[in-house]
Structure formats: C-alpha cells, structure tokens
C-alpha cells in the first residue's frame, strides 16, 4: 500500500511516498531555515507563504522521483496537529483537496506520534510496549507506547523544550540558528567536565524535566565571564529572559575570550543528563524493557551515545533511535504512521480541521489508575 505523506506543521515543507509504512520510495523536503535565519526564529507568516509556494512542486518532484503518478497512491496522510495554525492549514487543505479530487482516502496524523514512529521505521523489530522519548524544538515528552497510535504521557518538560534550550544557548554563545547542530559542532574537542551546569531537581520519582534552570545557569556563567554583550552582538538579539534582565551597564562589557568548546560540551552534557535521567526513571516506573528516541534533538550524537549506554547499563534495556535523517521534521514518518491509520480504517472526513495546540494526552498515571 502506497501512502503519500505531507508535513507542513512548522518550518519544513516535506513530502514522501512510503510503502506499507516502512519502505521509502521517494522523499522531498525544503527547509525554510535560511528564510527565517535573519529573524532569529520562525516567523509564522513567512512560513505559511513559503509552504504554499513550495508544497505542490515538491509533491510533483517526489512523484517523479518515485516514477509514479498521484493516482497510483492508495491514500494520503497529512499532519494536522500540533503546530503553527497557518502552516498546518496549507498541508491539510492541499491534502484534503487532492484526496477529494483523486477520490483517495485521507488520514490525519499527530506530528508527535509521527516522530515516535520514525524510530520504528528504521527498526522493524522495535516492539511494544516501549518508552518513547520525543525531543524536538517544540516538545520534550516521554510516553508509554503500546502501539504506533497508542501513547500515554509519562512526563513532559515543565518549561522549555530540549531543542528550544539548545537553540537559546547557541544564541547566547552567538552560534546562530538552529542551535542544536551548532552546539554539537562547537562541543567537539571540548571538555564536558569543564563547567558543572545544574541538572535540576528530578522530583521524587525522577521524572521531572526542566531546562530553564540550565539555560539561566549558562547565561549567568557567561555574565560572570563578562561576555553577555558580545554574545548579544554576535547573534544580534537580547538574550535575557524577562526574569533576569541584563542591566544596561553590564551590556556594555567588552568582549572576553571564551572557552566556547568547553562551554558547549558542558552544556550539552547537562542537557543530555537531564533527558537520560528522566528516561531511565520512566522505564523503571513502567517496567519497560525498551526505549525509542526521536525528534530533532535525537540527532544529537552525544545524546544517542549516552542514552544507548545508560539503557544497556540498566538491565540491558533495548534502545532504538530514529535514523538521523528522520529525526527533524520529515514526511516519511507521516506517511509511515498514516499507513497504520489507514489499515485500521481511521480515516479523516472532508471536514477535517487542524488542532494547533498539543492535545493533553492522558497521563500514564491516570491510565494506570483506571
């Protein structure tokens, strides 16, 4: 069964043709990174305009690449939640119209569930239940997964998402946007023990995740080193949080040489530790023998290594990470998960709508308490 997947929930326009939820026939993606770089973050209106202009041409290219016509497709799958409203509408409206015109079934897909499914695509042996760790620019969620479409939330970040934290710290260091890959590059050769940044309080069950303290600790460290203004000038933006304004006098401090590699490596280590700790607590709590890691930040090499080692050390827990090219937003995962919706007849109607906000998945604790 051949599924056309469409993903436009944020700033990537992506299309893929996937067979039976696993075999990738063709895929195309246009990242808008360059369009948004000068704004220092994603501007929704810029994203929408670009999605509209590029989506149909990418669909055509992807079909050509696979050597098939749209009418050969068995169903269409599209991300309709969560994400930026206007961006989601480009994908959904296009998908609905194509499905209607071609008289093909349509399935709508949850972006976060699709991220989790990306781990499954590279590892067909990945079985259920498992603990799913989704770490991206907008999400840091850990789920108890009983099937491709059955996830209940175990824990979630109290504040910033992991990717957001990488992006903000990269920006503090003047490394540009997106920050995750930049931090990874800069950390090469750095000493991860050079600075001990706080890992935050894990809470009584070890499930608590918070990144805002880590971000503030890096900021304070930089201020102590008299570096804040320079970092701000490099990245061009004011990087203070409203709670910790930088006094005018301080912003005038001159530049100082910074051990960038050490700071990046130390920050990365702390961020990774926070995620590993919450993951291990989740497996203990659910008695799961298997972990799947996905989302943009799952592309981080140190996170993959350390998570793999930690899982092995904890009762030889099985560990799978989504392949690097399926970590950040893509349509392969959408077409892949869409297959499971289609084979279970979970179709979307002509009146399908977008759901921009994250649906509060039922907490694992509530499920267990039933």
């Amino acid at each position: 069964m051949l599924i056309l997947g469409i993903e436009t929930s944020c700033d990537d326009t992506a299309v893929a043709l996937v067979e039976d939820g696993m075999r990738i026939r063709a895929a195309g993606r246009l990242s808008q990174e360059k369009l948004h770089a000068k704004y220092g973050g994603i501007v929704p209106e810029v994203a929408c305009r670009a999605h509209y202009e590029t989506l149909l041409p990418i669909i055509e290219n992807t079909c050509n690449q696979a050597g098939c016509a749209l009418r050969d497709v068995d169903a269409i799958a599209v991300t309709n939640q969560p994400g930026l409203v206007g961006s989601l509408y480009i994908g959904l409206s296009t998908a609905k119209a194509l499905a209607w015109a071609l008289q093909k079934p349509l399935a709508t897909v949850d972006h976060i569930e699709a991220h989790i499914y990306a781990a499954h695509m590279a590892d067909p042996e990945l079985d259920y239940p498992h603990v799913s760790v989704v770490v991206s620019g907008g999400h840091t969620d850990i789920f108890y997964s009983e099937g491709p479409l059955e996830h209940s939330l175990i824990t979630r970040t109290l504040d910033d998402a992991a990717g957001e934290c990488f992006d903000k710290v990269a920006s503090l260091l003047g490394l540009g946007y997106p920050g995750g890959p930049a931090i990874q590059m800069t950390s090469l050769g750095g000493n991860a023990d050079a600075v001990t940044y706080p890992r935050g309080d894990a809470g009584p069950e070890g499930l608590q995740i918070s990144f805002s303290g880590l971000k503030t600790a890096v900021l304070n460290d930089l201020r102590k080193r008299g570096f804040v203004m320079e970092a701000q000038r490099n990245s061009g933006r004011m990087l203070t949080t409203p709670e910790t304004p930088v006094p005018r006098s301080e912003t005038r401090t001159l530049s100082v040489r910074l051990p960038l590699a050490d700071i990046a490596a130390s920050f990365q280590e702390a961020a990774v530790d926070i995620l590993v700790r919450a993951t291990l607590s989740s497996t203990r709590q659910t008695r799961c023998k298997s972990v799947a890691l996905a989302g943009g930040v799952a592309a981080n090499k140190r996170l993959r290594e350390k998570m793999a080692a930690a899982c092995k050390a904890q009762k030889n827990t099985r560990f799978t990470a989504a392949p690097i090219n399926l970590c950040t937003d893509n349509a392969e995962m959408v077409a892949g998960l869409g297959f499971h919706k289609v084979i279970t007849s979970q179709y979307a109607g002509l009146d399908a709508d977008v759901l921009p906000n994250k649906i509060e998945k039922r907490l694992r604790a509530e499920v267990a308490g039933e």
Binding site: G41, P44, E45, K96, A97, L98, G236
Partner: protein, 253 residues
C-alpha cells in the same frame, strides 16, 4: 463555448463554493459559520457539485479569490483550489477580490448608474487603512482603473471623483471617516459570494474556447503587506527581548 467553473471564495468571513456553467449559476453552498473555511470549505465544494449533479471530472476550471483578504482564509482557498486543480488535472485561475466585489455590487443594487461612475470597493487593512482599487463604469461594465492599493479613508475620499461609490466591509472599520460631501459611502454589508466570484471568473475567461487553452500557472496570492516581523538587525535596541516566534505565537493566540 461552454465552461464549467468551480468557484472558491474564502477571503472573508463567509464564502464557500459555487458551480457555474458559463455565467449561469448551477449551485452554491456557503460555509455554515464565519471563518470555518479550514474545515468546511471542501464539504461546500462536495455539496455544490452534488447539487449541480456533476461529476468531478466535469469541472473544466477552478477559480479562486486570489486576494486581497484574510491571509489564512485566502491560503486555505488557494491551497484547496490548487489541490483540486492538480488532482483533476485542470487549470486554476485567480480572480482578484475587488473585481468580483464590483460585479456583485452592480448586480445587487437596483439604481442604474451613469457612464463614468466611479466605484471603490474597500476592505479593512487595519492600521488606519483600507485596501481598495478604482473602477469606472464603461458601457455597463466596471472597468478596473488602478492596481490594488492601501489608502487611509481620508486620502481615498480626496482621490475619488465626486459622488464616487465606496462600498464593502472596510467602511464599517472606520465609521465617521467617509466624507459624505465627497463620496457616497454605502453598502458596508456586502459580503462576496462564491457565485459572484465565479461570475467574475467567467468574465475573465470570456475569450477562452476550452479549458485546455487556459495556462497552468500557479496562482499568486495578493498580499497587501510585507511580513512585518522585525529582523535581528532591526531589533537590536528593541526593548521587547522576546523571541519573534514567541511574539508571533502570542499574537496568533
């Protein structure tokens, strides 16, 4: 010649879909509530087709409002129209909003207008401005005399000919600012219907013999403003230290 036109309108609060055979309306279905195009536009298309007793492949051309109008609404219409055109392998044509509005206004008011009468359809563009364009009645047809433009109500009144008719939902956005000694501001309730969008498309296509002759160029939306987010460079020294994404999300919410 005979063309079956599927017309899609979603640039404002209302809208929906209409099917026309040339200038004859076959069926029209409007969205059930304002601003529900995201979910309800395609069901309107489906129902209009059924009421017109047509099959999908009997549609010759898809016509869509290309603006100006609500950005999200327009893009839902455009993406829907392009998707249908692509799926049915039919051309898609963009119809400028004001062309259709003038057509509808002239059809709905019973007073006859004199040759040379001026018309200015207006939509609210916020920030003290309306989007508009100038039309003049020539041999019974409203002829476009200007590009779409952004104007303050006062400058529109100054630029317009004496007794020019100013109409459209933009009027209500600036009450008391339409100088009635200069222009006739009337018809604030005009909401463009899919049928008149289709009629305007038919006018536009009147020289065309068959749908095969219509060029397959993607329809470009008419945005009336550039993206207003500030770039990093523009923001240095900006007291608002939050990320642009955060600010935009807050605006959207």
């Amino acid at each position: 010649m005979s063309l079956v036109i599927l017309a899609i309108e979603s640039s404002g609060d209302g809208g929906g879909a209409a099917l026309m055979r040339d200038s004859t309306l076959l069926a029209e279905v409007n969205v059930p509530a304002p601003r529900t195009h995201g979910a309800q536009l395609l069901p309107c298309v489906d129902r209009a087709l059924a009421r017109a007793k047509l099959a999908r492949n009997q549609v010759d051309v898809v016509a869509v409002n290309c603006g100006p109008g609500s950005y999200t609404g327009l893009r839902i219409g455009l993406a829907t129209a392009q998707g249908i055109g692509h799926g049915l392998d039919r051309p898609v044509v963009g119809v400028p909003c004001f062309d259709a509005m003038v057509l509808q206004y002239l059809a709905q008011v019973s007073v006859p207008f004199k040759e040379g009468q001026e018309f200015w359809p207006v939509l609210d563009a916020r920030r003290d401005e309306v989007m508009t364009a100038r039309f003049v009645l020539r041999s019974g047809i409203a002829d476009r005399q200007s590009e779409d433009q952004l104007l303050a109500p006062e400058s529109l009144c100054d630029q317009a000919a004496l007794r020019a008719v100013v109409f459209g939902t933009g009027l209500a956005a600036y009450p008391g600012r339409w100088d009635q000694s200069k222009v006739t501001a009337i018809g604030a309730e005009l909401v463009l219907t899919p049928a008149f969008l289709g009629a305007a498309a038919w006018h536009k296509l009147s020289g065309v013999g068959t749908w095969q002759e219509i060029p397959r160029t993607p329809v470009q939306p008419r945005y009336f403003r550039h993206v207003t987010a500030k770039t990093i460079a523009e923001r240095s020294g900006d007291p608002d230290s939050r990320d642009v994404t955060e600010r935009a999300r807050e605006r959207e919410a």
